[in-house]
Subunit: 449 residues, 2 copies
Amino acid sequence: MRGDGDPIGPADERRPRVVIVGAGFGGLACAHALRSAPVEIVVVDQHNYHVFTPFLYQLATALLEPSETAYPVRALLRRVPNAQFRLAEVTDVDLETRVVHTDRGPLDYHYLVLAAGAVNNYFGNRDIAERSLGLNDLPEALELRNTVLARFERAAWATDAQERKRLLSFAVVGGGPTGTEFAAALAELVHGAQRRDYPHLDVSEVEVTLVEASDGPLPPYSPRLQRAAQRALERKGVRILSDATASKIEREGLGLKDGRTIPAATVVWAAGVRAAPLGDELGLEQGSHHRLKVSPSLQVPGHPEVFAIGDLAEVPDGDGSLPMLAQVALQSGKQAGRSIAALLRGDQPGALRYHDLGSMATQGRNQAVAQIGPVKLSGFVGWLAWLVVHIVRSEGLRTRASVLANWISGYLFRDRPIRLIAVPRTPDPTPDHDSDRPAAAPGGEGSPD
Amino acid sequence: MRGDGDPIGPADERRPRVVIVGAGFGGLACAHALRSAPVEIVVVDQHNYHVFTPFLYQLATALLEPSETAYPVRALLRRVPNAQFRLAEVTDVDLETRVVHTDRGPLDYHYLVLAAGAVNNYFGNRDIAERSLGLNDLPEALELRNTVLARFERAAWATDAQERKRLLSFAVVGGGPTGTEFAAALAELVHGAQRRDYPHLDVSEVEVTLVEASDGPLPPYSPRLQRAAQRALERKGVRILSDATASKIEREGLGLKDGRTIPAATVVWAAGVRAAPLGDELGLEQGSHHRLKVSPSLQVPGHPEVFAIGDLAEVPDGDGSLPMLAQVALQSGKQAGRSIAALLRGDQPGALRYHDLGSMATQGRNQAVAQIGPVKLSGFVGWLAWLVVHIVRSEGLRTRASVLANWISGYLFRDRPIRLIAVPRTPDPTPDHDSDRPAAAPGGEGSPD
């Protein structure tokens, strides 16, 4: 009996196979664009869910649950009948034999779309890589949430005032949208639910510091919007340290290049991303942020059947390249799909024509800055615009209703309902009881009597 | 500056301290019963949440999220103004010096309420303890959910039919309420969302087997209700193996005492619980299921200031003892609180007068059996009764609304929305970057470039 489409077998010439590595915005947009093409699509990702990344900071500050920031890939692919999903970690790509190697088996392809996205960029600082917390994907956001909540619990035991202050101090490195959104939401968590949960807590002991290397938060925005954002952040209780560059993490906290130390038990790294390491070993030319250089048609030089999109690709734009944004991923994914369909018809693949639909960043639950062409919005109006745009973009009616309900609840009651330090019993769900590693970690609950 | 109430200091004679170990049904009921008493209450638990255990099987079958089955203890204790919460693992209790030792510091007490609940009982079978999956608490339920979903993903890669069948076979040991509820919900997950997510999956390859040592499921129920439950389970697709006792777990599956082997990659243990190991080292007399023997007033012999309640206690009832049920935990918790208040007044503590409010068990999303005194309900009517009772008992308006919304969605659309294999990046959120263990597991995402 056949497996689930049995993709491990050789690709069928009569029905060319497109392998898409990555089920993020770019990968899924590409699959969707190919839904009517005479191809067999295999989407492979190391996780079984697609993450709506704009909401990750809300997961990390206990406002949303995983199912409100992530959606099962299989459910999303139901609308692409010629697509299948495979859960696996891609270990290598052989561009000569046209095979994607994974930890579960090989996938040969006629066309390949590399959409593996981005990871945190620590700029070679191994110390920071090991000791900071990230916010770039779901596991990191969950870990961050658990850690933030756990710090307060540990602080409740502390009798030494300095130790308590250290535990209640958080440093967020990176004043871009990710860092500022998280810092503002964290400050709100502190002044809202945490203050109610810890009646003896002196909220003035809690410090949320935003560390930004340039002269203020949200560098890509206009000066007027930058100032609006800074004011909003400060009103929320975020301390902003500009012209400050992180250099190391020690027990006391975050060390800066100028010699100062920011006391903090928790350092969150939101200072930059780089293309996923998948692209490093392919023998292809890489550009800024380690992205794979592609032509305007998103093809990889020397391999016209291979496309790279989204955060993994450096797409030429005038003298520079397109930024690493969700909109770029969505549009490049769609274009790659169209290009493959064109190639199948014997046509030339088209170039990506990127339309800048603007950017937005929140500063807590009722403030945001939005820049859409000449339109600049800030404050509550900006936040409303952000709300509408992101609810519309959320996947699935249930998710939208649920997210809206949670936001309304959070807005009205200033409460964060999901303040659980919830951890599955063992991190890796796949070990089978035939492996030498037991399915359950010994020494946990339920030790044999 | 004081810590959060600074309980690490010695207890104050003018305001006696009650330490409650465990924030389950019993522990919180006891705290609530003491809200007007002239005491300082400290509730300590190894998790920062209270679990609504009747819903755990729904978490494990991807119908509910953690925040719909668990609620932050601190939020629940807001209505008990003289109570504080401390997150810690109790390592020992010194009954002579009246100190509870934890991994975060000591807590001395005037009165102690042991409410640590129950853990899985493997009856000394270490093999099964290490290789089976549990369903007794939140981490186990999350692990089980992740594992069930991961098995389907692995099966999608399998080219060998026998291996695929093994991966898609699940054995649930224990035909009591826990096992039957989970088995039925798992069967529904398979025939519902999983079938839609895996279009090439042959659902007849999936096997959910319920293994029960007695002659049928739900032994405590009347024969008529047992038959109704069995029929409902079989209609849902659960295979019931009665008069079957588990003996070991091997690669092929679950080995039975009679020599048969049930092929299964996943074995779920719901065959019994025992009192938490906390009670083993106290030098106190233990009864059935390792529970601490208590007087009818729930006091531990020789230590009138120490109470044991809920699953941890063996409360005399006629010739036997009370069962290990949520209702017993709730009522004994309340009584222990009343008894402590009585002792403070110089009165005698009262005996627990247990009122059996009946039992219910579901068999999927529209079937249940309910036994309340002489009233016996089954089928859809039984399920409606279960729904009403459990929504009413759920904590918090938001949770109730959310749970109701999820159930309605699941009922109308036969969909399981939360099919995410979601794991935080590291299991333990508390390591600080001052320990020799790095905060982030090396080799994960974001390896330094």
